[in-house]
């Protein structure tokens, strides 16, 4: 109980700071909006390729972009931690009796709020551009769930990395060198059936793929409930493992202090 109370108050601080700089939220949305609008236009006719199995590219692309922007937001989570480390705020928290887990959990809860808001804005924009889904509200719910469950492990790993490396450059590097390849080896932009064989094999082990397949499958009503559940379950398991790593990173931070 204390854990949730403490996480709640720590998250409150992060949300207030975020609300004070709404331009920051807008800034993080610019890139996915560009993807959605430009790629949506550019590759409109890609659905005509045999084997694409989708009749509208904007239908196809919107859930992919929602997942991709959740992924990148989660990657940046560690930047805030580095800020707190540099300014002595982290040490102040660590000297207080607050639970270490609450410090991580509050960042992940804050990330979930960001993910939900971003996802809904992008989903709305997709609808304006003409995206329509048979999956209905349940489909949207699964998409949001998949986005959050993808952002949790990558958010936790970003926190873990910033606690161990403590340099902004390495977070930036990781976002570019890990998250971009993960995005392009997943069916965010291109149907899995049209990927080269090796890439399809890689995609099986790619969490971004799990999230896209679950969210898009639910919206387009093309995936079975079992297939969706399996992917959501995999993401949940990954979340738990990454949370454990982040807690370990805290211990290593304290030992090096």
């Amino acid at each position: 109980m204390t854990l949730f109370r403490e996480s709640w108050y720590l998250m409150g601080r992060l949300l207030i700071i975020l609300l004070r700089q709404p331009w920051y939220v807008a800034l993080t949305l610019i890139q996915p909006i560009i993807w959605l609008v430009l790629y949506g236009q550019l590759f409109r006719r890609v659905v005509e390729l045999p084997g694409f199995r989708s009749s509208s590219y904007i239908d196809f692309l919107t859930p992919g972009i929602v997942i991709m922007s959740a992924l990148f937001s989660s990657g940046w989570t560690g930047m805030g931690v580095i800020n707190d480390l540099d300014r002595g705020v982290m040490d102040r928290f660590l000297i207080s009796p607050v639970q270490r887990t609450a410090i991580i959990l509050s960042r992940l809860m804050n990330l979930s709020v960001i993910t939900i808001v971003q996802s809904l804005i992008l989903f709305g924009l997709g609808a304006i551009l003409g995206a329509r889904y048979p999956g209905g509200p349940i489909g949207l719910f699964v998409l949001l769930l998949a986005a959050i469950l993808l952002s949790m492990p990558f958010g936790a790993l970003s926190i873990a990395m910033s606690l161990t490396v403590r340099k902004e450059e390495s977070v930036i590097g990781a976002v570019n060198f890990v998250l971009l390849p993960l995005t392009f080896t997943s069916p965010v932009f291109m149907a899995a059936t049209l990927m080269p064989g090796w890439m399809r094999t890689v995609a099986h082990f790619n969490p971004v793929n799990w999230a896209v397949e679950a969210g898009r499958g639910a919206l387009q009503a093309t995936a079975s409930p079992g297939a969706i559940l399996l992917r959501v379950g995999l993401l949940a398991a990954l979340t738990i493992a990454s949370g454990w790593i982040a807690t370990r990173a805290f211990r290593s931070y304290q030992q090096s202090a």
Partner: protein, 321 residues
């Protein structure tokens, strides 16, 4: 006698190849202001980190408020407050938000927290700025907010790590008044500083730290009293060895504790005003030219020099290299 508020025994702490603390021992009575005095890099901040459970020593015993800090860090955290050297203020939040969150992290809430926050804001002259983002605060205001945060949960022990570093002289003396006022309420304060004046002015007990050890401790008065007589400093215009100077003072009575740092000769004399003329004559006779002379009552600077063989300023320069 009640157990000491803080007790460190034989603490060793190594960072990679650097030995930050080398068998440091310390005992601080309850309800007093205790100053750790030493140059940057002497091990003061590491000592604070260990006492506040932020770091673990390689070996040694740590007792805080009667608790074993290595076995029960969580209980220690409830009874200590800390003002870190680089501040802990979240500059993107307001003063009010910073204080309220700090109270909540200590399990406070409701009307009690509200009244505690507003009384602290009032007490440190921050009430008018409470709703402003801390980024807009002056250095002195941020420090006061830091101290208010350190006190919110009414700790038994307050740590102040270099509290006035980086403040202008006016803000510094203002903060000294605040700190002096805190000590009248039974709070134990451990303060680190490299300003001798600060330790002299605020602390009831002073420990001089050099290269990870306590070299001497006592009240500022007793430390200064150990140094007999006045301090004489003579700036030399020509180079001279300590041995040569020593020889030429053989005929001058009451001159002792000779040391040379840079081109300055430090000496202690029973009575400065009468000893200086014969000292200068003796140097002149030996062909050692002098440019200026200062006579002063002993200060903590002299104590530091005596125990470490260098002035604090020199030690700071060394530390930077």
């Amino acid at each position: 006698m009640a157990e000491a508020a803080l007790a460190l025994h034989n603490i060793v702490k190594t960072y990679k190849t650097v030995r930050a603390l080398d068998g440091l021992s310390l005992s601080v009575e309850r309800g007093t202001i205790f100053a750790l005095l030493g140059p940057n890099g002497a091990g003061k901040s590491t000592t604070i980190k260990i006492l506040t459970t932020l770091a673990r020593p390689d070996s040694g015993e740590v007792r805080v408020a009667g608790l074993d800090a290595l076995k029960e860090p969580q209980r220690v955290r409830r009874v200590i407050g800390c003002v870190a050297q680089r501040s802990g203020v979240d500059v993107d939040s307001t003063g009010l938000e910073n204080l309220t969150l700090q109270g909540r992290l200590h399990g406070m809430g409701g009307a009690e927290l509200k009244s505690r926050v507003s009384s602290l804001l009032e007490r440190f002259g921050l009430a008018a700025a409470a709703a402003r983002i801390a980024r807009t605060y002056s250095g002195g205001m941020q420090r006061k907010l830091d101290i208010a945060m350190g006190l919110i949960h009414r700790p038994e022990i307050l740590f102040l790590d270099e509290p006035t570093t980086g403040l202008d002289p006016e803000a510094r003396s203002d903060l000294w008044d605040e700190i002096a006022r805190l000590s009248t309420k039974g709070l134990t304060i451990l303060l680190t500083t490299h300003y001798l004046e600060e330790a002299d002015r605020l602390a009831r007990q002073v420990a001089i730290v050099d290269r990870g050890r306590v070299v001497t401790e006592g009240t500022p008065e007793s430390l200064k009293a150990e140094l007999r007589g006045d301090s004489v400093q003579i700036d030399l215009a020509s180079a001279a060895t300590l041995a040569a100077i020593d020889r030429c003072f053989e005929a001058v009575p009451g001159v002792h504790d000779l040391q040379v740092t840079g081109s300055t000769l430090h000496a202690r004399t029973d009575h400065g005003a009468t000893a200086v003329p014969p000292m200068l004559l003796a140097l002149e006779a030996a062909g050692i030219r002098t440019s200026s002379v200062r006579i002063a009552r002993p200060s903590l600077d002299d104590v530091y020099l005596r125990y470490t063989g260098r002035t604090i300023q020199e030690a700071e320069r060394e530390g930077r290299q």
